[in-house]
């Protein structure tokens, strides 16, 4: 047999020798290994070493535990679930607290949202026809409209339509310009009367509120609407 080929074959076979000794090779590997062993004294010696080492390991004295551990393990095992049970309860309590905290948080959030400054006019402004207005003097018109205004605060969202718009656009009703809510009839009234009276007709006379609504006063005390 060629020496080089034999060396290569031994290198290939050597990793299989342990499997061969243990009977853990496939049929083809076992066949190849046995065929090689039949011709190679070196590999036979290695196999014998493997056998000796394996037998020496198996011959090591069997060590035993110094005491029976069964009872002590059982006691520990039985003691453990109770502590785990407490942990579970504690965990459930934590969960419960987390849920309660979440509910409270949601409640606060809802309350906060409900406090958004949307104020609804108690009663929409009564719209009167131009014919009716022409029959009434401005003083009468003011007189008729004031009691209603006195009951309610200045109408920020002064009509149902404006309120719906505010809700739909998710925009505070206060952002809607009061001027936009005037009906044509009211605008006519504004045009036909002194500024202060007309404003009183529409909102009641409240100077601070006027400024907040974009109505400025000049040096002469006259009001001007910023359209």
């Amino acid at each position: 047999m060629d020496r080089d080929i034999e060396i290569i074959t031994c290198k290939e076979i050597e990793p299989l020798l342990d499997g061969c000794f243990d009977g853990e090779l496939s049929a083809s590997e076992m066949h190849t290994t046995k065929e090689h062993l039949g011709q190679c004294d070196d590999c036979q010696a290695k196999l014998k070493e493997i056998q000796s080492v394996s037998q020496a390991l198996a011959a090591l004295p069997k060590l035993n535990v110094k005491r029976d551990l069964a009872e002590s393990i059982l006691q520990k095992a039985q003691a453990k679930p109770s502590s785990e049970k407490n942990n579970v309860v504690l965990f459930k309590r934590k969960e419960f607290l987390a849920v309660v905290a979440g509910v409270l948080l949601i409640g606060l959030l809802v309350q906060f949202l409900n406090q958004a400054p949307i104020k609804v006019a108690e009663k929409p402004q009564e719209i009167r026809s131009p014919e009716y207005l022409s029959q009434q003097s401005p003083e009468q018109i003011i007189k008729q409209s004031k009691p209603a205004q006195a009951k309610s605060k200045p109408a920020i969202a002064s009509s149902t339509k404006d309120l719906k718009l505010a809700i739909k656009s998710n925009k505070p009703a206060s952002k809607i310009s009061p001027v936009q809510s005037h009906t044509t009839v009211e605008k006519l009234a504004i045009a036909s009367r002194g500024t202060e009276d007309v404003l009183a007709f529409d909102y009641g006379y409240q100077p601070n509120l006027m400024e907040g609504m974009g109505i400025a006063t000049d040096e002469d005390g006259l009001y001007a609407l910023k359209m």
Binding site: E49, L57, D68, A70
Partner: protein, 206 residues
């Protein structure tokens, strides 16, 4: 008739009969201790592994599938417990020593010296003494193997598991197990060669 491991565990799981559990402990505690000691070479840690393993079995009895082999599951848990201790040791050694390889090199040299003394016939001739020395030498040599090789060699040659069973226990392929067994035994052959060759005419007793 003695119940199988799986039947005992099933009975314990269904009825909570602690006798079934303690029977399993008594059936395996020595084998587990033996394995753990061979891997860890420390009595206290070996006992700790036995206790931890059975505690986990007790806790996880409901997770055991009856189609599995109880011993495989048991030794897998024990193997993992051993690995945990070895890892802790590695960390401690890493923290304490700048040269981790020094103790290993010292151990190898010591083993070689003892082997040479035995081969030279300087140790007592009595058979009893020889067997004790043999066991001590093999244990010392076993310590020199890397952990992953030592575990599979012990599982194979001391506990007698098949490659497939070992693969399941250590969580690797049968090919890896075969390779580790090969290199583990190769190193043992190198360490024990002079002794094995000296005792060639009188093979090591099993």
């Amino acid at each position: 008739m003695e119940l199988t491991d799986e039947a005992l565990l099933e009975s314990f799981r269904k009825t909570g009969n602690s006798d079934c559990f303690t029977t399993l402990v008594r059936r395996y505690q020595d084998r587990l201790y033996n394995l753990a000691y061979r891997v860890l070479t420390n009595e206290e840690e070996a006992e700790e592994v036995v206790q931890d393993t059975f505690l986990r079995i007790h806790e996880g009895a409901s997770n055991f599938r009856t189609s599995n082999v109880f011993a495989g599951w048991l030794f897998r848990i024990a193997h993992n417990a051993c690995l945990d201790i070895l890892r802790t040791r590695q960390k401690e050694i890493g923290n304490l020593s700048f040269d981790d390889t020094q103790p290993i090199r010292d151990g190898v040299e010591k083993t070689r010296l003892v082997l040479q003394q035995i081969a030279d016939g300087k140790v007592g001739p009595e058979e009893n003494v020889r067997l004790q020395e043999q066991a001590q030498l093999i244990e010392e040599s076993l310590k020199e193997l890397p952990d992953e090789q030592r575990v599979v060699v012990v599982l194979r040659d001391v506990e007698g598991f098949s490659y497939e069973e070992i693969a399941s226990i250590v969580g690797s392929s049968a090919g890896t197990v075969r390779s580790r067994i090969h290199y583990g035994r190769l190193k043992l052959r190198e360490l024990l060669r002079s002794y094995v060759l000296a005792a060639d005419s009188a093979p090591l007793s099993r």
